[in-house]
């Protein structure tokens, strides 16, 4: 197990190195800090002096090492859009995105578990056909289109729910701004979280269904039937418990994927999260902010994946030797 842990940690570190190289390339290429710092009237000689002073004429490896050391200290440069350290800006927006993903995950779990289990138990019923039919249509509708449809129905047409922003937020001790503590904030959360969930929900229903159907074929379930156990016990305790493992692993990875799609959801709903800020940073070429976003999101991805791998390794000893499939 220890060797497995070390190997995974090594891979995670390698991925972070790649991310840092990408970030360094971004910063080095778009960001000509001199152009940002110096005005029109600054002469070429003075620019050169400034360049020397900031260490921009140093050889690339030296600059890269300086970039990484600064990044490790949490210094990713100043965002000129906000006039604040870029990392602070991103971390300040982090709670909005985290809450969005959290609520979407709750939707997915609450809806996919009963639907998936039902579809597996009654594969021929009309409701199952409807669930499976809707799920293939659901996979084919892009997230941003679902968001637009929801806005059109619930905000424009019915006028029930707000269509943009986070509503009233409360700052918790520790600097975490939450939108889940007020009624208004929760109302603002409904549409964005549903549209984010719409991406993963059909996949989860299908995954739970196919895993569950496979388990229902197995010997020990047949034995449970033969023993005359109550049906709910067979389905929930015997069969469902054994479908959880693949669901957890896939689920862990999907949470990482959801982060990417927050960019779309946040854009549609003007949700003041990391993805929204990232897109603004792209439009205005705010290099430091771009880099800060990539680093933070990269860390989250790598963290989630490594934890999922480790959990999987803990539960399923075969993985430790052969690697995750």
């Amino acid at each position: 197990m220890f060797a497995f842990f070390i190997r995974r940690a090594g891979q995670a570190a390698l991925v972070m190195v790649v991310i840092s190289l990408v970030c360094f390339a971004v910063q080095h290429k778009i960001g000509d800090p001199i152009r940002d710092l110096a005005g029109e009237s600054v002469s070429e000689a003075e620019r050169q002096l400034l360049r020397e002073k900031l260490g921009l004429s140093d050889p690339l490896p030296k600059q890269y090492i300086r970039f990484v050391t600064n990044a490790a200290r949490g210094d990713l440069g100043i965002s000129y859009m906000f006039g604040k350290p870029a990392l602070d800006v991103i971390l300040q927006k982090f709670p909005a995105t985290a809450e969005l993903v959290f609520c979407a995950v709750i939707w997915v779990l609450v809806l996919s578990l009963p639907m998936g289990i039902y579809a597996a138990i009654r594969p021929k019923s009309v409701l199952t056909r409807i669930i499976m039919g809707v799920s293939i249509v659901g996979v084919s509708i892009p997230v941003f289109l679902i968001a637009i449809i929801l806005i059109w129905i619930f905000s424009v047409y019915l006028g029930w729910l707000p269509s943009f922003g986070r509503g009233d937020t409360i700052v918790l001790p520790g600097g975490w701004t939450t939108g889940l503590a007020t009624w208004d904030g929760i109302r603002h959360m409904v549409l964005p979280s549903i549209s984010l969930a719409s991406l993963t929900l059909p996949l989860f229903v299908r995954l739970i269904r196919s895993e569950m159907m496979e388990v229902l074929q197995s010997e020990f379930v047949k034995f449970a039937y033969a023993k005359g156990l109550p049906l709910w016990r067979i389905y929930l305790v015997h069969a469902f418990k054994n479908t959880l493992l693949p669901v957890i692993t896939v689920g862990g990875v999907r949470i990482g994927t959801m982060l990417a799609f927050t960019i779309l959801t946040e854009t549609v709903f003007q949700w003041q999260g990391m993805g929204f800020i990232f897109l603004q940073a792209v439009e205005r070429a705010d290099t430091s902010l771009l880099v800060a976003y990539l680093v933070v999101v990269g860390l989250i991805f790598v963290g989630v994946n490594t934890v999922v791998d480790l959990v999987y390794g803990l539960v399923n000893p075969m993985v430790r030797v052969t690697g995750r499939k």
Binding site: A25, S140, L145, S210, F261
Partner: protein
Amino acid sequence: MLAKWTAFKNSWFLYRFLRDPVAVSCTVVLFVMVAAAFLAPVIAPHDVYDASNTDILDARTAPMWLEDGSSNFILGTDQQGRDLLSAMLYGMRTSIIIGLGATILQCVIGVVLGLTAGYAGGKTDAFLMRMADVQLSFSTLMVAIIISVLVDVLLGRHALALREQMAVPILVLVIGLAEWPQVARTVRASVLGEKKKEYVEAARVIGLPPLRIMFKHIMPNTLSPVLVIATVQVAGAIMSEAALSFLGLGMPVTRPSLGSLIKTGFEYIFSGAWWITAFPGITLVVLILVINLLGDWLRDFLNPKLYKKG
């Protein structure tokens, strides 16, 4: 030629295909859509690339059957006064071209890397597959967004005109580079199965160079799963294009694609001009849906073990 045609006419493939109403209707819909898209210059009522043709005074005209509609614009107009039906036809053409281009690119990259990884094994294999894992865990959309930001960076802030001109090849490149891992994994898995078979051994014994064995002997036997994945990936690529364009990282507003039409329409949804979003949106969903259904059918056909199970 004639013999081939009869063979096809009597084939199991055609037999099964014709007896599946879903597959047949999907093919018909897909065929009509593709034909309409590529005939856009002929059948579209207006030329959307010609600025002299559009009048800003026509902007946001409702569809024909509504009160403020005009019979000149069947599905209404967008915010620039372009005929929406024509813009959609041209946009669909762009989306399909990008989808196909990106799929071809990812298949080429995926097959080459997958073959190399599977045949070479060892360190090369570990490196390539680790790279694929990382890309997959980041999700293709994220990778596509990052790559398109990098492309913007490389072109520089001042090359906006160039960026707009090259939008289609850039999108093909971005989506192709983001989505190759799935193809590579599939190819690698089949190569690992094929590698141990006797014909490969025989080829090696008579001293053929590895490249020839890889591409001439093994590759043809790995292509049928690639075909299935490629079908679904076309839908995925069209979706990615729409998402990127919607984020403003893809097709510029002046050159319609389904994604960029939805993007511009979304800005007017609160003022009641729902049709600018709705029609391109429906077209996009139908296009993706029929491709996905066909992909599912093809998978079931080529993999009878799974048939009627899932």
